[in-house]
Symmetry: C2
Subunit: 191 residues, 2 copies
């Protein structure tokens, strides 16, 4: 998606530890016009596919999941990282290791909101090592629902998570794939 | 907003500790058609007002903030509760006490995303004691920006936060105000 690559080049910055900061348009501050374009692009990519639900993870996936769900006209569900008092009853849960933050965390979703046989589209802002998305796939499998595909706004192609998901035979659509940023310049994989 | 009251009556449930659970359409699972209606209603309510930015707090405000920002065609910014490695540089911060979870937590936003003179609309899913929203107002004041108004999807009118905000002279639009749920039945304040 050309607009995504351009925004990354114009506004992205590389922080210590290999963090690609896109806080001005995709993370903490979110460009609602870009979100609309992302929704339309994903609807175009998955045209003809049955999708019953968009599934993402708090917090940074929620805005993107919302925009895509609104475009597709289906509900959006997000997995939580912390159990709070307004989630009661049974949950599906899994453990995700974050390389960025160097910790393991629990991820869970109420059993009421992922159902057997549902066709689920996973979306997230970043795909690096892929652990968060593999965790969401695990939750979908626990619910005996089906992963229709995965959408990542930005894939860090050099970290291998995207290729691991493709190798599982799961359809992955990354709106931009960063192939290298080791020398301070952001390069994209041609798609 | 009639649609909001109806959904609360049909799908909301009261959990121990006075928690109103609306996870099936507003919290963990989010009805994207209702979000669209919320966006349109807020655009109607604030028609003619200059709004440069929608401001909310992770996680449960993000979907609603996204929908409203998309309808208004302005960026959405969310305050964070935990400092992560992809937020660098200077931040505005404040402390919020959560009665629901019984803890104090830090809330912050990058100084890059709230700017002097900006006209900011605060939105959140719930308004109970009002501490989260008072924290967002504090961050806006630190940035020398201006709070145009506050939108709460559900105000718990019996907990006083909404009236405290109104008494400060800040415009508050609550899409539904629960006046009482002490006997297990949800009643609304007439608006």
């Amino acid at each position: 998606m050309k607009a995504m690559e351009e925004r990354i080049l114009n506004e992205g910055s590389i922080l210590p530890g290999g963090v690609l900061k896109v806080g001005s348009f995709l993370n903490q501050q979110i460009d609602s016009k870009l979100l609309k374009e992302i929704g339309e692009e994903v609807a175009r990519l998955f045209e003809g596919e049955e999708i019953n639900k968009v599934f993402t993870i708090e917090s940074s996936g929620i805005a993107i999941g919302t925009a895509i769900a609104m475009e597709l006209g289906v509900p959006m569900v997000f997995a939580k990282k912390h159990k709070t008092s307004n989630v009661d009853g049974y949950v599906y849960s899994t453990v995700v290791h974050s390389f960025t933050h160097g910790i393991d965390y629990d991820v869970f979703v109420s059993c009421d909101y992922l159902c057997e046989g549902e066709k689920v589209l996973i979306v997230d802002d970043f795909l690096a090592n892929g652990n968060a998305i593999l965790g969401l796939i695990d939750l979908i499998e626990q619910a005996e629902a089906e992963t229709v595909g995965v959408v990542a706004c930005i894939e860090k192609g050099f970290q291998g998570g995207g290729d691991e998901i493709r190798n599982k035979g799961i359809r992955l659509e990354s709106l931009a794939i960063v192939s290298d940023m080791s020398d301070g310049e952001i390069k994209f994989r041609k798609q």
